[in-house]
Every structure is written in C-alpha cells, then in structure tokens.
Amino acid sequence: MSATDSERSVRGALREMVTDSDLRMIAVTIAAVYVLLVGVAFYFDPDQAVNLSATYIQSVTIFIGGYAMLTLALNLHWGYTGLFNIGVAGFMGVGVYAMAVLTAPVNPATAGATPGFGLPLWAGLIGAAAAASVVGLLTALPALRLRADYLAIVTVALSEIIRLLLNSQALSEVTVFGATFGTGGASGINYAGPSPIIAGTLFDTLAGPVTGALLAVGVDPRTWGIRPSNFEGMIYGVVLLVATAGFYWLLFRTGNSPFGRVLKAIREDELVARSLGKDTRMFKIKAFMVGCALMGLAGALWFGRGGFTSPTQFRPNITFFVFIALIIGGAGSNTGSVIGGAVFAGFLFYLPQQLGTVIPQALPQGAGAGDIAAAVAALGGGDVLPLVGYTVSNISRLRFVAIGVILVWLIQRRPDGLLGHRTEPASSIDINQRPGTGGTDGRPAAADGGEERE
C-alpha cells in the first residue's frame, strides 16, 4: 500500500514537473525534437554535424511554427465551435495570394513576370488575414446554415475551387481600372517575401555586432561552419514561434471568455445555446471568420515566406496534416494544438524525411532492394538488409502509412489526444474559485467523490 503510494507520488511529481506549466510542456516537446535531430546529425554525418544540425533546426522550427499556427486556428473552428472545416488549404491559399498580389512589384524586373500593387509587407500581411476572413464570411453565410457534415463538404470543395481558380490562366493577369495584377496562373507569382525582409534584415543588422561580441569573449562563430542561410532560417523560425505565441494569446483569450463559452455550447448542443437566447449564427460566423483570417495569416507567414507561391502548394493534403496535428494534440486545447503541431511537424513529418536521406547514405552501396518483391524475396535467403534498405529509402512515403497507424492507435487508445482531456474553463476568470471564500483549496468538490470518473 505505502509502496504504491510512494510510487504514485513519484510518478505524480514527475508528471507535474513536465506538465505543470503549459509553456514548459511546449518547450520540452520542441527541445526533444531538437535533441533527436542533432543526434541524427552527429551520428550519421559527424564531419558536417554542426551545419547539418543548424539546417535541421532551422527548417524544423519553421515547420513547427507553421503547423502550430494552423492547428491553433483549426482548433477555434473544430475544437471549440465544432465547425468541421476541411478547407484549411484554401484559406491559406487566399492569404498567401492576397499578400503576393499586394506586395508584388508594380513593374517587375523580369520581363513577363506578373505585376502587383507594390505595397509594403505589413500591408500584405494585413491583406492576407483580411482576404481570408472575407472568403470565410462568404463561405459562412450559406454554409453555416447547414449541418456539420455538409459544412465539411462545402469547405473541401471550396478549397479545391480556390486552388483551381488560382491555377486558371484567366486570372493570371487582369487589368482593372488601369491597375494590372494577377495570380500568375500555374507559373505562380514572385513578390517580396516576409522571410527575406524580416529575417534577412535582422541577420544583416545583427550578424556583425553579434560576431564581434562573441569574438570579444574568445568564441569564433565563423569556425562552426554554419551557412548564413541557416542563421537566417533560424531567425525566421523564431519569428514564426513569436507569431505562434501571438496566435495562442489571441485564441486563449477568445476561448477563455463568455464568447468562448458560447462557442463551446454550440459544439455541445446548438439548440440549447439558442434556447438560452444566444444568437448562435452570429457566434459561428465570427468564430469562422477569425479562424479563417488566422489560417490566411499563417499561410502567408509560412508557405509564403520565400517570396514565391504557386497553386500546387495548396493541395488538400495540408488540410489533413493540420487535422492530424490537432487530433494528436487534442481538439479543444490550445496548448494541445501547439504540442500537436510540434509533434506532427517534428516527429512524424520532418524526422522520417531526413532519416530517409541520411540512412541510405550510411548503408553499404546497393544494399536497398529496387522494389518490395525483391526485398521480400531476399528475406527467404536470410538477408534482411535489402528489406531494411528498401524501407528506409522509401521512408518519406512510408511515413504516411506510419501516420495512419499512429492515428488509428491514438483514436482507439486516447481519443482525446494528448491534452484534449484537459478542461480549460471557458471564462475570463478562474471559475473554480468561489468568490468570497478566499480559500486556497481550489477543489473542495473532490471530497464528494466527484473524482472517481476520469
């Protein structure tokens, strides 16, 4: 009895250490991704390990930031309000293209390139959020009258319509009231991207002074062999994480408020919310527009970072990846959304992709079988190497099989995701504390045996 007690308290203490602060949980998850990737770099390529680690860290951070932002936005739709939006890619596309058209130069240097409005980056980013929210409104007006499953059909169709529109030659260049602009059709559009503008400028201004300061204390960063583009990438990764924090702050306040309480009630039972006098249609439209604006902004910051975009970036698979991240993290939890985004981007998406590159290089030449039949045939002769080689060289495709397996397992074993079981009370104040009692014990109700469910 006492043994189990102490065991439980040790486990409880450990769990508390990792989980007591949301920020710490997120930091631990991201740190775990970094540690694994740096480990991979040092194990498989010791000569280039430092630069390879930097490459890994900068690109995985950008993935994590991108997925975390999109998952947070989707959590507002699906996790909080129960709106089954599977058109995430479409709303991202609207955002990225709005930024592209607004910021592309009026007179492009390259002949034949699509001209835009030549506005500064901040106008492009605001335009991205605004355009996506307007498209969200246009979708919401008819579609939110429908039942949840029909909303799903409408949104997935809409996202394909958007992609095909962007792809169409008809919109590649149009002149309205003397202003010439367009989407560039299938060949895409060039503009001044946020990554070169923000991270590039930061790198140029910081590189000199920081190097000087490090040299002064006897450290020479130039000997690390890290390429400047990796520094720039890392800076932009931090920019995306800061943007994620902004998303989190906004959605936390949206959710933990009387507004969020109505959204939760809509998810649970819309007729009850209406019978209590809530104009649920307005709440749904607002929530849908805010989520779409954030998807557009996330798309502009992430997919649109490099200064070029084309319609092929906005295939529906990105929507499903975001859903997987949300299911992993736990729909309804903002912290869960960020962790889900990090786990998906780091462990399920990026890591297997990189392993698929480095492991075949480490295997003996020609170890991998050309196809699965040859690999299985070799097993008969007791030779496992062809199968291993085949598996790892196809890992970037096979990871989707793995993602499917993990999803099935997760839904059976932990349908709420990693953090979906958590209650984030929908109020702007701590409602578990009864006003006026002043006690520090937040949970006197537990004494009534209320805890036995779990």
Binding site: A265, R274, S275, L276, A445, G450
Partner: protein
C-alpha cells in the same frame, strides 16, 4: 435565496389587454367553447396561444390549439401520447414555426421568431430529455445562460483594455451561479462535467440554468420524467417557491395526478387541439377528459 429578482415578479403592467383586444374578439368567434371556460380572464396573461396549427406533411400534429397562461400560476399542459403537447411547446419556443395561428408573449407577437429571440424576451424553456452541455462543467453551464453578457462580444473579450469589465461581470455571475446551485442543492457538483450527473441532477441543473437567464416565464417540458420520487419532491418544492416569488410556469407532464395536485390551472390537449381548460377540480370531472385518457373516441 435572495437571487431570483423581484423585478421578474407579478407587478407587470397590463399591456397585453389593450393590444390584444381585437385578436381575442376574432378568435372567440371561432372557438367560443374553449373561450367560455376561460371567460374569467384575470389581471394579466403573459402567454396567449391562438389557433395554433402545425402540419408535418399530411399529419396534423397541432390543430387550432388556443389557450392562455395566467401570470404567477403553475399551469399544466397534459394529454395522452401524441396529443401534440411537445409540438405545441416547440411552436411556442420557436423550434418549429407554426403553419398558422399566433403566439403572443407579454402583448407582443412572437409567432415564428427564432428560439434565441424568444428566449431573450424572457420566455425560457427546458427540454424533455435534459440537454445539459455534457463536456462543460456545471458552472460553465450555469454561466452560459445569463443574458446581456458583455464578454459575449469578441472584441470586449479579447482586447486588454476592455476585459476588466468582463471580469467584473463574470465575478457577479459566478456568485449568482453559486447561489442558484445552492438553492437547488447541487452546489457540490459545481466543478463536475455536466455529462457525469444523474438524470435527476440534470433536470435540476436545467431548471437552475434556465433561472440564470432571469426569465419572465418558464416552460418546462416533462420536468419530472425519469426523476426519482425524492428528487421529484425537491424539484416541486423549488417550482412552488419560485411561483411564490412571482414566476409563471407552463409545464408539460404525463403524470395526471402530479398535475392535478400542483397546478392552479390545467390545459388538456387531445389529438392536436385543446379539449378542456380550467382549474384541476373542473378538469377532473370533465367526461371528455376522462374519455380521452381512457382512449375512447370522442
């Protein structure tokens, strides 16, 4: 106990009378027999239903139902299965819109309005099968209900400068929620998910939640279905106490004895229309009602 406002009390002015007068005349011409029973119209009639009719395809669920509910009473709506009680409820509260007929609440026509509009006028309902919001805690359920919450505006909830007003209101509402939960003796469950409550506790929560809206009148759809006798007693006590504070109740119920013992007035529905209306002792001796309940053709 201090909680339910005395504002909601019976001291309502008699707006309905004048406004509605022509309507009544018209209706009386059509079903004067029903009107006869309710001739002694007292001071105030918050809810008036006129010739309400609802067809679903070829089926007429409610057929020219007319009745009224007096201020400060517990009025029972009874009838055999399929009499159209729940449909009538849904027509009054805007869940369905009527094929024809009208519903007047406090002198204003609310026929066919959206459920939220009707609720916001102070006519609040509960459901036959308690529809608590399962994955929200009891307190969240309670705090959802109040009308006119500042924090329901997105901007006010999000912007730092405006949020302090929201917090103040939340603290007020929280205090009121706790008081109401205490009144219904379910305050020990405040932090539980509503989905974990027993059937009877859910019924209590639904009534408590409806009270949080500070309604003018409550419509309770089978509030005692699936409730054990002890809890039923408790629920009845609450309803009587609230009536004494001036609340008006219309309740749909199967259990004829329960209605007869607890209601000042009874409306009997049969095959979609109102068969009889009056005080319990009158209804008890009404042959038509007895026939209807014995299942005989009238």
């Amino acid at each position: 106990m201090s909680e339910p406002d005395s504002d909601a009390g019976p001291v309502e002015e008699n707006i309905p009378e004048d406004v509605d007068a022509p309507d009544i005349e018209e209706a009386e011409a059509q079903d004067s027999d029903v009107e006869e029973a309710a001739k002694h119209v007292p001071s105030s009639i918050p809810l008036r239903v006129r010739d309400l009719r609802k067809t679903f395809g070829g089926i007429t669920a409610v057929d020219s139902a007319s009745f009224e509910v007096e201020e400060g009473t517990i009025t029972g709506l009874i009838g055999p299965n399929g009499a159209g009680k729940s449909t009538t409820f849904n027509l009054i509260t805007g869940v369905y819109s009527p094929t024809s007929g009208s519903v007047t609440f406090q002198g204003q026509d609310i026929t066919g309005l959206q459920p939220e509009k009707i609720a916001n006028r102070g006519l609040v309902r509960t459901f036959q099968i308690a529809r608590e919001l399962e994955e929200m805690t009891v307190l969240e359920n309670m705090l959802l209900a109040p009308r006119g919450q500042r924090g329901e505006r997105l901007i006010t909830s999000v912007l730092p400068g405006l949020r302090s007003g929201v917090d103040d209101q939340e603290r007020e509402l929280l205090e009121r929620a706790w008081d109401t939960l205490e009144l219904f003796e379910i305050d020990h469950l405040a932090r539980e998910d509503a989905g974990g409550l027993s059937g009877g506790q859910r019924k209590l929560l639904e009534l408590a939640r409806a009270l949080m809206t500070e309604p003018e009148m409550l419509l309770l759809d089978e509030p005692f279905a699936g409730v054990n006798p002890t809890l039923e007693e408790k629920l009845l006590d609450r309803i009587h106490a609230l009536r004494e504070q001036g609340y008006t109740f219309l309740l749909v119920e199967h259990d004829i004895d329960l209605i007869m013992d607890n209601c000042e007035r009874v409306i009997v529905m049969h095959q979609g229309s109102v068969l009889a209306e009056g005080p319990p002792e009158e209804i008890r001796d009404n042959d038509e009602v007895i026939d209807a309940y014995l299942g005989e053709e009238i």
